[in-house]
Amino acid sequence: MEHIRMPKVENVRLVDRSSSRRIKVGTLYLTATHTIFVGKGSEDRCELWVLHSLVCNVVKHKASQSGYPLLIHCKNFQVMQFIISQESDCHNVYISLSRLSRPEKYEELYCFSFNPNVDKAEREHSWDFLDLKAEYSRMGLPNKLWHVTPINREYRVCDTYPADLFVPQSVTLPVIIGSSKFRSRGRFPTLSYYCKENHATICRSSQPLSGFSARCLEDEQMLQAIMKSNPGSRFMYVVDTRPKLNAMANRAAGKGYENEDNYCNIKFQFIGIENIHVMRNSQQKLIEVSALRSPSMGEFLMGLENSDWLRHIKSIMEAGIFISKAVAEEGVNVLVHCSDGWDRTAQVCSVASVLLDPYYRTLKGLMVLIEKDWVSFGHKFSHRCGHLDGEAKEVSPVIDQFLDCLWQLMEQFPCYFEYNEKFLINIHNHIYSCHYGNFICNSQKERKDLCIKEKTHSIWPHLWENKLDFMNPLFKPDQSQNQGLLRPRTAPYCFKYWRRLYNRFDRELHPRQSELDCLMTVKEETQQLEEDLALCEQVEHQIFNYHPHKSKQALWSLPLDTSLANTPQDYIGGFIGGAPNVFTLQQGERESAELCLFGDKPKSSDADNSDQESGVADFSSHSSGEESLPSEDSVKDPDSDETGPNRA
């Protein structure tokens, strides 16, 4: 609280980016966790909530006639412009927000104060929603070829790796330790994905410390053991995802890449994915393009080209395709690394997994995949997402690119994914929001030290609960199973600009009608009709032949996940009462950047906009993706549902 110089500013104007003439006047509040704008007047009373952890930067602009503009850029690509009449107020807000949006300690993050009304058992339960052990056993592990090594239980061999790691049965502890000493940050080769049909695996590591000529017997034995763990293959691929030049430069620093002469039966391959700094700059340019106000077609396409973003996406996709083909078609093991093995390696392994295994194209499968390849293997979320105030050079949209690759695949294969793009966008939002504990810290060890599981909540049950919103109606599960390996095209025209993500809050840019939403409704209704019919038949049946078990069966067959049924999701209250005391109304979860209407006429606040979203529309600032406002029928919406922050 001590950072808030100015808890409240009156007569602030919120400018709609798409049309500078649409302006809302209201009051700006700074709380410990949110910036809140409350519109004045009964007609267009509305609220805009922005979580401090989502704020990327705050910029003061030159004073205009109407006042002092303050621009807030968010990590979920929302941009807000406020105009504050007094210079001193503007400055105070600026200073406060600059500090609030750059927490110095983990404890300042929202996930530690976020306190939905659930008991301890339930919170712990939320962390059990995903079980990586179960995931490995789904793959068929452990088996006679691979087992879990206890060597990293205390994070002593590698503090950025998870505690449980799969290595070939034949590998001894000294080999692991020797290999880990020969790899950057101790990240020795370990299993990421196992294909039970042909025993081929994707393994991951960091770069070897080979310099110009160094060798390590244990590391060579390690690779040999991995190769031999796949009885059907005579060689294995070692994929270095860096551009060759970068890898060579690393040799000068005593790092580098595997020498084919030293390792038996490896085929070494460079795949030139650029480093985090190039990617950061690329996304910066992309964001600038997406934020252009009424550009010409030429300007937009040129900007897109100059950002190089799609070129990078293509290179990641191609690396994934290479690996998935090696595993599925050649039946050969692949070891993937980059420099440290937590950025490009995570991208490439997870893209390959999605291509290989239909499971990762389901909702739960994607959650597991992110939990495994990203969270557990030590993708440095805190650094890459800039959760804490720190080194700007560590920030990079590595996971954005993974989500972008998934979206490109969904565009190419509209029937093969169980989830839709809203799911990806929601995940993206929560990776940055620090609302849940999943994406805090840089490694499993750090999370354990911070007691993340004891102090915060997990995002996955929350998303699962709202899964109806994230379902792709076109998904054909049977076919997808048979389909197995996805073979995406990589012609340049297959890579497209992801408007829904980068222009997420520019409502006017998106289609006015949604084919998929419509189809989903149709599908749900069909299902409802089927159920009604079944129920009818059952009732008929019961009349003649009473059967207590059957009636119980009918209850269970309702589409409810019982393990989650108790999580509180009572969102409606906040919106039906027109009371301004909304702050205290709901104890439900408080979401990231919140925008909610608490006026009693959510549907008619703007004469120009006759649609349901109107009140919000003018702010172009949905916190939550494309979903509609929390009007009566959108209770299911996972992101626009919550209200009531602590105005501590």
């Binding site: 049309s19 009424s294 190419q412 509209p414 076109l474 340049p492 408007r499 998106h510 419509c518």
Partner: protein, 565 residues
């Protein structure tokens, strides 16, 4: 010269056919007066390929003389056939001479000049008869059906012998108070005689969209009282009308040097002129060529692809067409003013803008029948010179004359609207694709000739079948319908932000695997909807699809960016 005289070799055996998505086939190739046939003879009665020779845009031949034996067994040739519907296929023909003969027959027969020699004059399917009315509607019928016109508008037959305006139909709709003499004088003052006529009358407020060609003011600022009166009659006294000139202000000025010009403020005081620049003719044709070229090489890097896409300017044309149409709609629907649209000749961009505006404004033009009627009224009857514009498509090496894919541009814009309002149109992408194909090569007479007058002279109505009628009779095929169609009375304002416009993959990448996956998605959409219909039964089907129809909102005021003179 008989058509058959062009055929030096009618049949070749042992030809190998290669085309997208199919394994190479060996079989017999036949050339007839109008078709290229390929059959593998596995089943006597069937063929694997039947393409209209008119569909062939370009052929490339390469003859290999293997082993240096002239005319011997080893010699063979490959013909690459590039079609106007963007399909590319290859034929490997044994025998150099046969190969060259086939190639020269295709070249001669695919570029017939005489309309009556074209295939529609020979197409006689058993299920269609030539008797009965041709086309869906006429100006008179349209007038009769549109009650809101009766008060202030009339049908004029001043052009019944096509002498006033050779490119107009025999009947046009004009203000009731303007007599035929005035029309004749106005026609003399407009390029090609295309005086202002009614294109659309808005059902909400009675405001109209008129279209014409440019006025012939010339360098010394001539004026025409009758033309001024005609426009005055349109806006009925005190109101204001907008003239949307599809040229930049500078171009309009320059046009005066060559006898053209624009409506000057001092003589048309109640009309406000707005200039919006639209590319035309050759530039648009070259855009198409560049775009297709860019799409045909999947090995480009992403950068190169984007720069080629940008360089083609095709999407820029889509952007301008949709924004100007949006502007027209804004004038009519939101601001309640009548609009006159014209460029120079008034036969290309003018029709593009006026028909797009109607699609956005008028729910009736979003049904299958309504859309085809719109095309018939605004393109066929209004005298878009199809024969000239669609003589060649993107592959032809022939020197460009009057080719211009403005109709394709319209279809692309309609597709963009459908992408943004997937529930608002009754027809599907498949119908647009079918039209894109038919306009270049067709069994039907609908897109023949350049005007009603020419069609009359050639006897098109008597001797060919009408595509639109055949599409609608007896029942339209399911693939041409949008399973999610949900009529809305509102205007459907498309977003024209570059981020919102996309490459029409269904057309430009039609023959790639990329488009194939979309086909699968379309089938899935149908099966979901059908399953629903089965469950719900006939009486409940309609109300359910409406549950998710979002309401539509205008989102930006295009008037912001205009040069108002």
């Amino acid at each position: 010269m008989e058509l058959s005289e062009h055929i030096k070799t009618a049949n070749v055996e042992d030809v190998t056919l290669r085309r997208p998505f199919h394994p190479a086939l060996r079989g017999t190739l036949c050339v007839t007066s109008h078709h290229l046939l390929f059959s593998d003879r596995k089943d006597e009665a069937s063929w694997q390929l039947l393409i209209l020779l008119k569909n062939i845009d370009a052929i490339e031949k390469s003859v290999e003389n293997l082993f240096g034996y002239p005319r011997a067994m080893g010699s063979s040739g490959t013909i690459t056939i590039k079609c106007k519907d963007l399909l590319v296929l290859q034929l490997e023909i044994p025998g150099m001479e046969e190969c060259l003969n086939i190639a020269s027959s295709i070249e001669a027969l695919s570029s017939l000049e005489s309309v009556t020699e074209m295939y529609p004059f020979f197409y006689r399917p058993s299920h269609l008869t030539l008797n009965g009315p041709w086309g869906l509607s006429s100006t008179e019928q349209y007038y009769k059906q549109t009650e809101r016109l009766w008060d202030r508008w009339r049908v004029s037959t001043v052009n019944s012998d096509y002498s006033v305006c050779p490119s107009y139909p025999s009947a046009v709709i004009v203000p009731r108070e303007v007599d035929d003499d005035k029309l004749i004088r106005s026609a003399r003052f407009r390029q090609g005689g295309r005086f202002p006529v009614l294109s659309y009358c808005h059902h909400r407020n009675g405001m109209v969209i008129m279209r014409s060609s440019q006025p012939l003011t010339g360098a010394n600022k001539k004026r025409c009282k009758e033309d001024e009166l005609l426009l005055q009659a349109v806006i009925d006294g005190s109101e204001l009308g907008y003239i949307i000139d599809l040229r930049s202000a500078q171009q309009a000025q320059q046009a005066r040097m060559t006898g053209g010009g624009f409506e000057s403020k001092s003589f048309y005081s109640h009309w406000k002129r707005i200039h919006r620049h639209h590319e035309r003719g050759k530039i648009v044709q070259e855009s198409l060529i560049k775009l297709v070229e860019a799409c045909s090489d999947p090995s480009h890097s992403v950068d190169r692809w984007l720069s080629k896409l940008e360089n083609s300017k095709w999407l820029s044309h889509v952007h301008s067409a949709l924004s100007t149409a949006g502007l027209v709609v804004e004038c009519v629907e939101r601001d309640g003013h009548s609009v006159l649209v014209h460029g120079s000749e008034g036969t290309d961009n003018t029709l593009l803008v006026s028909s797009l505006a109607q699609l956005i404004l008028d729910p009736a033009s979003r049904t299958v029948t309504g859309f085809l009627c719109l095309l018939e009224r605004e393109w066929i009857q209004a005298g878009h010179p199809f024969q000239q514009r669609c003589a060649h498509s993107a592959y032809s090496h022939a020197r460009l004359k009057q080719e211009c894919p403005i109709f394709l541009l319209l279809l692309d814009c309609v597709w963009q609207v459908w992408r943004q309002f997937p529930l608002a149109l009754e027809f599907s992408e498949a119908l647009l694709l079918r039209l894109a194909q038919e306009v270049y090569a067709s069994n039907y007479g609908t897109f023949l000739c350049n005007s009603e007058q020419e069609r009359c002279a050639a006897g098109v109505k008597e001797n060919t079948h009408c595509l639109f009628q055949s599409l609608l009779r007896p029942d339209i095929e399911e693939q041409y319908l949008n399973p999610l169609y949900e009529p809305t009375d509102l205007a459907i304002w498309p977003s024209v932000h570059p981020q919102s416009l996309q490459l029409w993959t269904g057309l430009f990448l039609r023959w790639t695997e990329y488009a194939q996956n979309m086909e699968e998605a379309r089938e899935e959409v149908w099966s979901i909807v059908k399953e629903h219909h089965e469950q719900a039964g006939p009486d409940r089907t309609n109300n359910t699809l409406s549950t998710h129809c979002d309401t539509l909102t205008p989102f930006e005021n295009l008037m912001d960016e205009l040069t108002i003179l």
